[in-house]
Symmetry: C2
Subunit: 208 residues, 2 copies
DNA sequence: ATAGTAAGTGAGTAATCACTCATTTTTAGC
DNA sequence: GCTAAAAATGAGTGATTACTCACTTACTAT
């Protein structure tokens, strides 16, 4: 788990170790429970080294989580949803599979960062705003429009698109939480489980 | 929002104010971010008063969240699931509605406590263990058995009962998160939303 | 080799923290 | 009203914290 570049500039090896250590300790103890002393020890550097690049402890956190939201989550979602939105899917199932595919690999790849973001959002309003701004503006509207297209085609039930999104992402999050956050050591049934989750959503939303 | 009794004994008015203040600040800032000084100020008492009853800050948190898990969540789940399990439901839909009913009112009533529990579980392994112990031992097995019963009757798909539970609670959690945690000020579509969520689950799990 | 800059160090600082405890205040029972 | 116990107080304590800054080391360009 390495972040080669957090922020705009290339990090020195020691600064990189600071970031890696911070990620680990923020994830394990939360921002408030993490001390710069402990982060420095873990990185094998002097505590003052942290403050050569980051003015405050919070700036260190933001340098990690901010890009997580704006550069990892958003591009994952936005860029690929451009494809999803513009692509021509024969049906809702293809659309749903497009949402699921890649997402899970990237979640797995960034799970610790996502864990930190989720843990910290309740305590840092600016993170919550950023997430909702990115997701709300770019993604939510686009998804809802696409949902409405499928509804017009009569493929899925005509309920409020926002609720459709909520239902889809609840199941997705349940799958992610179960496999990557709560029980990361359990990798059994993974393929079946994903397929069953997709079928559950498809059937649950199908128009009869 | 008042907790008249946390732990075994009746609290003095001041101690009660401490608990109320702690709940508020733990929810807003997390355990590590909350200081006993701030809690005391908010409660309008001297800081030492906190330590008359609670040996440590952590004991204060546990006195709040521990019973939350063992006395609120578990009884909600266990006691009522005894009824659910022993009751004779004509079909899976009745069973599902029994799960949903009452749960939501009690979630609404205890939402801030649930928020604290969710926020703190990643940082306090004993809370996670307690939750899984209670839920795992008493509830999970019982629910899975009941699920299997419905599967034998051919009412729902024959997938692993654990996955069924995951799917149900993902959707339930999505509903709860949307209405009580993320957007508590938004009470629109509430009745429809719940019904659609239930229908989504029913259809998603139905055996065809 | 020299000078300037960048990176790093770690002792120290002021503030904050969880908690203690001698003292004061309040309560309850007679 | 008196006494003992319970509740509360708040100054103080040692530890911890985020951060500073004078100094050292390393690197780069001339």
């Amino acid at each position: 788990m390495e972040n080669k570049e957090v922020g705009q500039e290339q990090l020195t090896e020691k600064q990189q170790r600071i970031v890696d250590a911070a990620i680990e300790i923020f994830a394990a103890k939360g921002y408030s429970g993490a001390s710069t002393s402990e982060i420095a020890k873990k990185a094998g550097v002097a505590e003052g080294t942290i403050f050569r690049r980051y003015k405050t402890k919070k700036e260190l956190l933001m340098s990690i989580v901010g890009p997580m939201i704006s550069k990892v989550i958003a591009p994952i979602i936005v860029k690929d949803f451009d494809k999803v939105i513009t692509a021509d899917y024969k049906d809702f199932e293809s659309f749903l599979r497009a949402i699921f595919s890649n997402r899970l690999k990237l979640v797995e790849k960034n799970q610790i960062l996502i864990k930190i973001a989720i843990q910290e959002i309740p305590f840092h309003p600016e993170l919550k705003e950023k997430l909702f701004e990115v997701v709300g503006k770019e993604v939510f509207k686009s998804i809802c429009q696409r949902i409405e297209d499928f509804q017009l085609k009569g493929e899925i039930v005509k309920i409020h698109p926002k609720l459709v999104v909520q239902l889809i992402f609840s199941s997705l999050f349940g799958y992610v939480a179960s496999n990557f956050i709560l029980f990361p050591e359990r990798s059994v049934h993974q393929d079946n489980e994903l397929e069953h989750t997709i079928q559950f959503i498809l059937k649950g939303l199908r128009q009869y």
